[in-house]
Symmetry: C2
Subunit: 347 residues, 2 copies
């Protein structure tokens, strides 16, 4: 049971350390944790945000526990050397094509969202975002046109197999939930979306029990404000998923509690909190590690089939919350270590 | 003073009729209203959603009052014949490159939003969306790859002059408001966005009084939920603007009240409610015409410099609202005609 631990930048190391303590406390047979450098931290040490030795470690493990990357002081670097490229590189190199982003309002924390409590309380959705294609990984560049003007360009595309495999992920997720799947695209403008929609409709034939709907991305952004409770599983492309999953997360109010999984075919996956590296509070022991701890739970469940241990971690976090443990992000004053201690005690 | 009136589909004709009554009641010297067919209605009559005669009318006028287009029963048509193409065609043919979408919570209507009233009350922002470029108007298509797979593709791009002119619109708007401009892009992934950001920074030198910030689109979608009051003017590209402006509108709660302007260089513009054709309530006299009436006010202000008359219309709508007039979209029972009557009475 080899797990790569890539702590990254900013608050990454602090929050990851607490998740590691929780994993260690479970007495998992054969647990081996292997640290690796990513992001700005890796750039400073190795001159690259995703050095080959890190990729090697990732490949030798069954899953990755990921902290956060991002470092404004490196924003001047050419794009391929910036911290965020570590995330994109891992997704591509390891074939992590399916990003699962659950958003649920935690009981007792309805106060934290800017939505009306009665609206927020109904949020229980899962966004399934494609991670290996779209305008993220197409050809791109800057060129000078014949008339001398500079132009920036990026190719957006999806091939049918790329859509098919994420559609299956979406339908399967829907089968395990309330059998409603909403596919989000912009088929009234984009050919990429039209193909997306056609293929999703093809795949739907294999899931006759699932009620499939289609929504344009602009309307989806509206509906997530108007009535987020209407959604169960949303499946969408890389770019729209980036935007909508962040919007949905914030609807929940407590992004310090939200975990995510980026899965490859099979059991391999990368697990990370949805929050960023928060450089403003880094190194001060102020960050809430709960989202990273919950990411570790997702890791045990999805990559190692350890449903019981995953549920144990989740229950412990729930118990700590019920006891009133609150990080600064939740309006409380508990620090990183204290929250880790509370979860460990509840375990 | 020639104004094109393109009522379109669904509730378009009903709501436009009330705005026309309001315009006629103002006794504007030389007012001439010229009707034209657009959208599904035009397709059924002329075989095209934007027939040449409609474009001719548009070109012969100083501004367009637009209702709505959209008709699900025509969704099977090839894309270039679908109702929405009328909007895209008018934008491109007439060089309507700047979409202004104000979002403000109307006093007394804070209850209508799903956001907490104290959060919603602070919303007073303007989204300036580029309308003539981006992935909307690039080359696009579906192809079969060498290995036989189907692929949908769309070229995303911005050239420096396209960014420059919308940046100027954004900075000018900011100068007329609180001198804060937030440019939204995805420069950590897209070359199109990197060029966008570079050019916006260049243009900023001409507006030293404006405080410019940059935000990634995923973060912007989050911040619009977390604290929409932080924004004043947002400038962004066509695709991100489509999503964010709809999200922001819904934050306001009363999309039956929101107007928008799509402006060309000079005074020419197209003015329309931000709501759609609402086929479910079409033809029943149930639609709220206020957003279209307010679009007529924007038209008088921007295209004809009639600030007084514009303000008169806006005051009349405000008065009707204060008197308790409410369309179904605002939880009331007043019909299209009754709302038009109330606004006319208040005028
Ligand atoms: C850092 C960035 C490249 C990344 C993305 O856009 O995918 C992030 O926003 C995310 O959602 O994980
Ligand atoms: C109808 C559609 C093509 C259009 C767009 O995406 O621009 C609409 O959503 C809008 O915002 O006016």
């Amino acid at each position: 049971m080899r797990i790569a631990v890539f702590a990254g930048d900013g608050i990454g190391p602090e929050v990851t350390a607490e998740a590691v303590r929780v994993l260690q406390a479970l007495d998992l047979p054969g647990l081996e944790l292997v640290e690796g450098d990513v992001g700005g931290a890796a750039y400073r040490k190795h001159g690259h945000p995703l050095p080959p030795e890190t990729l090697e470690i990732a490949r030798s493990c069954g899953a990755i526990l990921f902290g956060a990357v991002g470092d404004f002081s490196l924003d001047h670097l050419e794009r391929r050397l910036r911290p965020e490229q570590a995330v994109l590189g891992l997704r591509k190199e390891l074939g992590l094509f399916a990003n699962l982003r659950p958003a649920t309002v935690f009981k007792g924390l309805e106060d934290l969202t800017t939505l009306r409590p009665e609206v927020a309380a109904k949020i229980d959705l899962l966004i399934v975002r494609e991670l290996n294609g779209d305008v993220y990984f197409g050809e791109k560049g800057t060129r000078t046109l014949d008339d001398g003007r500079r132009q920036g360009w990026d190719m957006m595309s999806y091939a049918e197999d790329e859509v098919r495999r994420i559609a299956h992920t979406g339908f399967k997720a829907a089968m395990g939930r309330s059998k409603k799947l909403c596919s989000v695209d912009k088929a009234n403008v984009l050919e990429t979306s039209q193909l997306w929609r056609d293929v999703v409709i093809e795949v739907a034939r294999e899931y006759p029990e699932v009620e499939l709907s289609h929504m344009y991305v602009d309307n989806a952004a509206m509906q997530l404000v108007k009535n987020p409770g209407q959604f169960d599983v949303i499946v969408t492309g890389n770019l729209f998923g980036d935007i909508l999953s962040d919007q949905a997360s914030m609807c929940v109010g407590s992004i310090g509690l939200l975990a995510s999984a980026s899965l490859a075919e099979g059991t391999y996956g990368l697990y990370e909190p949805i929050h960023g590296s928060a450089p403003d509070i880094a190194g001060q022991g102020l960050a809430n590690p709960m989202a990273t701890i919950l990411s570790a739970a997702m890791l045990l469940r999805h990559s190692f089939g350890l449903e019981d241990q995953a549920a144990r971690i989740e229950a412990a976090v729930g118990k700590a919350l019920a006891q009133g443990v609150r990080g600064g992000d939740l309006g409380g004053t508990d620090g990183t270590r204290a929250i880790g201690d509370a979860v460990l005690a509840a375990l």
